[in-house]
Amino acid sequence: MIFTLTKIELLKIFRKWRTYIGFIAIGLLVPLLHLAMYLEGQRSLELVTRGLRDSFILVGNLLNGYWISYIILNALTIHIPFLIALVAADLLAGEATAGTYRLLITRTVSRMQIVTSKFIAGIIYTISLVLFLAIMSLLVGLLIFGTGELIVMRPDAIIVFEKTDIIWRFILAYSFASLSMSVVCSLAILFSSLVENAIGPIVSTMAVIIIFVIISAFDVEILKAIRPYLFTNYILNWREFFGNPLDTGEIIKAVTVLCAHILVFFTATLWIFQKKDILS
């Protein structure tokens, strides 16, 4: 039953125009970034490695598909939540707006099954968007710029990864990005269960993300205590897969916190939806 319901939900999602906004945005933005990197990438790379170039001769192709993908993933994971919220916020509120809630409830499916299928569909949409980003940035990037070694510039170190040591890191990084974006999706669905219009949940989701990011950025003792519990604190932790050695403890902690958030948001949505008085 869940499988059929999820299939229906996915059909509903992909029939809507707004679903494709995210794909179009990535489809336009990533080639634009590729073009910018094609024209200016070498200069940018020279600029960031200027300190090293003063004393060393650097040989090899560092401006390659891997580096471009790393930069794009860095830049876009901050902005993708909006594209996720755009669709996820409509999953429950959209039914209210369209007046199809009552119709949905009168069918021989439980409210739990409805919420679960919507959650699964939302997460599938999230994964497909991140996958599309991976295809656009990594595959297209490799086609345009070719392969090479990946230079990762961290605040405290420069790490150079060999060609054979990169792909698995990207697979895990994109998987992690899917997980962190799924938290955003879950939060948007939770807000979506509270109202009857998708605009509110979209704005609320983005507001929560912005507030959490600001709290994370403030270097004040009292806020430091809250920081480990904010999911935004872990959104960029996909970068841990580009550490040497891998900080597995930090990765496990991040995955646990993000999964816990999804579980909490799902349970809260379920509880709200079970108690909801359907009037439309």
Binding site: F56, I57, V59, L62, N74, P155, D156, I158, E162
Partner: protein
């Protein structure tokens, strides 16, 4: 009065030792020795030991052609020190300089002449170089240089005799001071403030080392100028 006596004694002793061991002939012999090499190709293994740089050991091929053509070919990314890479004294000694014989010293059982060289022309970053020269083989065994603005560096060299009968380095250890200014800024959006904080104690310059191991020399076999054409190499 005492000051005058000391100055006279120092001047006398300096002149005496300078006459016994004049640095110019020693340096000229080193130049002559290196001038025997028209070109070479050598395989090099590179090991980088810098506190902020994590990369595995690399391999490259270095091509050299007189007077100053240089090319490095590497399958992947490689990082080589600019200074002393061609272990050629020509750059330093072909310009105007002044040199002082300092003392005799022993390095790895080899007796060397320690000579201080001060470049007089503005084309170089080097302020002062100290060279340890094996006067028997006319080879530079060690270099210590002060340069502006990037601080001091030293080069330790070991030699092998190539099949063609030339003495060329078998290994080179390049030691230099590094600080966080070499770390690039930007591109890593949302840098973790914790990691930045923990690394503030590394603001003080530390020593970095690059080890180069040379093998498979091909000396004076003739190298085409096209090898040094970077545009062709990029194709």
């Amino acid at each position: 009065m005492i000051k005058y006596i000391i100055t006279i004694l120092l001047t006398f002793s300096f002149n005496y030792f300078s006459q016994v061991n004049k640095p110019e002939p020693i340096l000229e012999k080193v130049k002559e020795e290196f001038n025997k090499i028209e070109d070479y190709q050598v395989d090099v293994k590179i090991k980088v030991d810098i506190f902020f740089l994590k990369m595995s050991d690399r391999e490259a091929i270095i091509y050299y052609k007189r007077p100053d053509k240089f090319h490095i070919k590497s399958e992947g990314f490689a990082l080589l020190p600019k200074e002393g890479l061609n272990f050629s004294p020509l750059e330093l000694l072909n310009s105007k300089y002044t040199a002082f014989y300092e003392k005799e010293d022993t390095i790895k059982g080899i007796i060397t002449a320690v000579i201080k060289v001060i470049p007089l022309e503005g084309g170089t970053d080097i302020i002062l170089s100290t060279l340890w020269i094996d006067t028997k083989r006319n080879l530079i065994m060690k270099v210590e240089s002060s340069r502006k603005p990037s601080g001091n560096f030293s080069i330790d060299l070991d030699y092998l005799k190539t099949s063609e009968g030339y003495f060329l380095p078998s290994s080179m250890m390049f030691t230099f001071s590094v600080d966080r200014s070499m770390l690039p800024k930007g591109f890593d959006i949302g840098n973790d403030s914790e990691s930045v904080k923990t690394s503030t104690d590394s603001k003080k310059p530390k020593n970095g080392t690059v080890y180069l191991e040379y093998s498979n020399y091909k000396v004076n076999k003739g190298i085409s100028d096209e090898v040094f054409d970077e545009k062709l190499d990029k194709k």
